[in-house]
């Protein structure tokens, strides 16, 4: 029911902002061209069901339609109701694949020993704000400043810590309102994972909020809203607020976005390209294990956006039904190759080739 809220919210936000729809032109692939980019495989016939991440939801919708058009024998469904639910369902084999913003936890992995994690999409978690005095030039923020704001130790926009990294910018002497996600979310997990790495005050062991899809926010001026649309609308309507938001949100261009300092000392905008660069760098720095479980936050490289989220498709390696196994393999191959062309137009970061090679090896393991 809660996930039903998000599209409704989005429509409301669009209507109220009086915005024309800014749907990317390539959003719907015509059947003829998808037939050329999606080579049909003969004899595929199976029903595949998926469930999980809402972040993956919009692009999964494009993928399943394009793949289904090219392979009429395969029917794919995907229910975007949260990563946690998707993981629970795939562990219990109630669905064929899960979309998840996090790998299986240790406890979950114990109940699914043949799990394969295939990264399918990435994206930046943006730090968006509403400070009318600042105009269009993006504010520069680093990990310590973001952590201090969300810990509540920085409470004013003209705090010396923000001023020091924004020379020449006149910052207003106004109280900061912190906007966070009220619903459990992979976006929150990525954001807190990043802060956990860059600021010693953040880890649970040091008395901080720690890492999770739902955390206890310490800042006194925190307000929480549902989904990216809720956070976005709250930032829009609350002057001097700041929040974190998935870059896939349709209306993101209406908000001011900070550029965030990466490990190379560069201030980078959270574009799909910068998220892909972060993923590539994280992979090369062995931040992902052989099964492609890992994290792309705070990655090296001058072009990397430091708060980068990765989402996986999680499947059972052993499939009892040969038809399903074949269809699942073909679908995942499509996602990682031709399907990646749909990523950037839909504001997702495509998988770097270094990762696709490794993912192909995992997909090849799927068998009956």
């Amino acid at each position: 029911m809660q996930k039903l809220l998000i599209p409704i919210f989005l429509i409301g936000a669009l209507v109220l902002a009086g915005c024309a729809s800014n749907t990317p032109p390539t959003a719907t692939t015509p059947p003829s061209s998808s037939a050329t980019t999606t080579p049909a495989k003969d004899g595929l016939a199976a029903d595949l069901s998926g469930e999980g991440s809402t972040f993956v939801g919009p692009i999964m919708e494009k993928w399943r339609v394009a793949f289904g058009n090219a392979n009429p024998g395969v029917h794919i469904s995907y229910l975007a109701d949260g990563s946690g639910k998707g993981r629970a369902s795939v562990i219990g084999s109630r669905v064929d694949f899960a979309g998840s913003d996090a790998p299986l936890s240790a406890g979950e992995a114990g109940n699914m020993t043949d799990a394969l994690h295939i990264p399918v999409v990435a994206g930046g978690v943006l730090v968006a704000y509403n400070v009318p005095d600042l105009g269009k030039t993006p504010l520069r923020l680093d990990g310590a400043a973001i952590a201090s704001i969300f810990l509540g130790t920085i409470t004013k926009w003209n705090d010396p810590a923000i001023a020091a990294i924004n020379p020449g910018v006149t910052l207003p002497n106004k109280d900061i309102t912190v906007v966070v996600r009220s619903d459990g979310s992979g976006t929150t997990a990525t954001f807190t994972d990043y802060l956990n790495k860059v600021d010693a005050r953040w880890p649970k062991a040091n008395g901080g909020p720690g890492v999770g899809a739902t955390v206890k926010w310490p800042a006194a001026s925190t307000t929480a809203a549902n989904g990216n649309p809720g956070v976005g609308s709250t930032i829009q309507t609350t002057t001097y607020s700041v929040g974190y938001i998935g870059s896939d949100w349709a209306d993101i261009s209406a908000l001011q976005q900070a550029v965030v300092k990466n490990t190379a000392g560069e201030f980078v905008e959270g574009t799909p390209e910068a998220a892909s660069a972060a993923l590539d760098a994280a992979l090369k720095a062995n931040a992902f294990d052989a099964d492609l479980k890992g994290s792309a936050t705070n990655a090296g490289g001058a072009n990397s956006y430091p708060i980068t989220a990765v989402s996986w498709v999680i499947v059972h390696q052993h499939q009892s039904d040969a038809n399903k196994a074949a269809a699942l393999k073909a679908f995942l191959e499509y996602i990682l190759h031709d399907g990646q062309q749909l990523s950037t137009p839909n504001k997702y970061a495509p998988m770097p080739t270094s990762l696709v090679t490794k993912a192909d090896a995992l997909i090849a393991k799927i068998g009956s």
Binding site: M1, Q2, K3, L5, I8, F9, G12, A13, L16, T54, D81, G82, S83, G84, K85, R87, A88, S105, G107, E108, T177, V179, S182, D183, G184, S185, G186, A189, K204, P209, G210, V211, G212, A213, T214, V215, K216, W217, T222, T223, A224, A225, N226, G230, S233, T234, T237, T238, S241
Partner: protein, 305 residues
């Protein structure tokens, strides 16, 4: 009781209706059992601090639901305080004062309001009322009456007061429609007798209110039940922060809103159990509030003269 021979259709009716009634009772018991058994892990983990503790931190993990219990009661109390007087007065107007041709269209309008989905009220509160609260209403009140501690500080607009307001509008049609029916049930003779004694309209209205007491109580209780359990609209307008201060201008969270917010990504069994425990607490709370209200209104310890 002396039992006479029963007609077969009577027996069938008795058995059939009894079965339906038993099914309802069984459903309630089954809900209590399922919620209770799934919440057991969380109760064993947190003990009584699950209900009395104020620290809700799934990462720790630490589960204290007091802010949500408080938020549920506080937002519902605001809603009842606003909606009950207005609802009763509208019902009085509809039954006593409105011109006859106006009664039925007005009544239909009120019932239509009851059919509006809660998400619509929530969105109206979030997109329209919240900015107005933040920019205009809260600063104005604080400038003029800020010394009264019940108000607090300027919020982003969402908070207990907005949640109570949205809830009040949502439960108003329920309260109005049921109390109107209760007032319509007051014997015509009683009213005419009052008028014959020279009573004013207001005095007659008061007599009617007294006669319809049980029905009016049912109206308020049904409204309260809806307010306690309302989820989506409240989630949008309450702020979803675990505060538990008696401040109209402060953000909070309710049992239902927390459950809705956190269940999607709750994969840890203990956290899931704690969320189900919230449902169990809400179930108990509704039960206790209803029974309590019934005791207050019926006052069984006071013998009627």
């Amino acid at each position: 009781m002396a039992k006479r021979s029963e007609h077969p259709t009577d027996r069938a009716t008795r058995l059939g209706l009894g079965l339906v009634a038993a099914a309802v009772a069984m459903t309630v018991l089954a809900i209590a059992y399922v919620l209770g058994s799934h919440a057991w892990d969380a109760f064993r983990f947190a003990g009584t601090s699950l209900a009395t503790g104020s620290d809700w931190d799934p990462v720790e993990p630490s589960f204290g639901a007091w802010p949500f219990i408080f938020g549920t009661l506080f937002s519902s109390a605001i809603a009842i305080a606003l909606a009950v007087p207005i609802g009763f007065l509208v019902a009085l107007f509809l039954t006593e004062l409105a011109p006859r041709w106006l009664r039925s269209p007005l009544g239909i309008l009120v019932e239509l309001l009851a059919g509006v989905p809660s998400i619509v009220f929530g969105m109206w509160g979030f997109f329209y009322l919240a900015p107005k609260m933040h920019e205009t209403f809260e600063p104005w009140v604080l400038a003029h009456a800020g010394w009264i501690p019940i108000f607090g500080e300027v919020t982003p607009g969402v908070g207990f007061l907005l949640a109570g307001l949205v809830l009040a509008i949502m439960i108003l049609p329920t309260i109005t429609a049921i109390s109107r029916d209760a007032l319509l049930g007051v014997p015509r003779l009683e009213r005419e007798a009052a008028y014959a004694l020279g009573a004013t309209r207001w005095e007659v209205a008061r007599t009617s209110l007294r006669s319809a007491k049980a029905g009016l109580f049912a109206a308020a209780t049904l409204g309260l039940g809806r307010a306690l359990g309302e989820t989506i609209a409240v989630t949008l307008v309450i702020g979803n922060v675990a505060h538990s201060k008696l401040r109209l201008f402060d953000q909070g969270a309710t049992l239902a809103s927390t459950l809705a917010n956190q269940v999607g990504e709750a994969s840890d069994p203990l956290m899931l159990s704690a969320l189900i425990a919230l449902g169990f607490i809400l179930f108990l709370l509704t039960l206790v509030v209803n029974l309590g209200a019934r005791l207050v209104i019926e006052r069984p310890w006071r013998k009627h003269a």
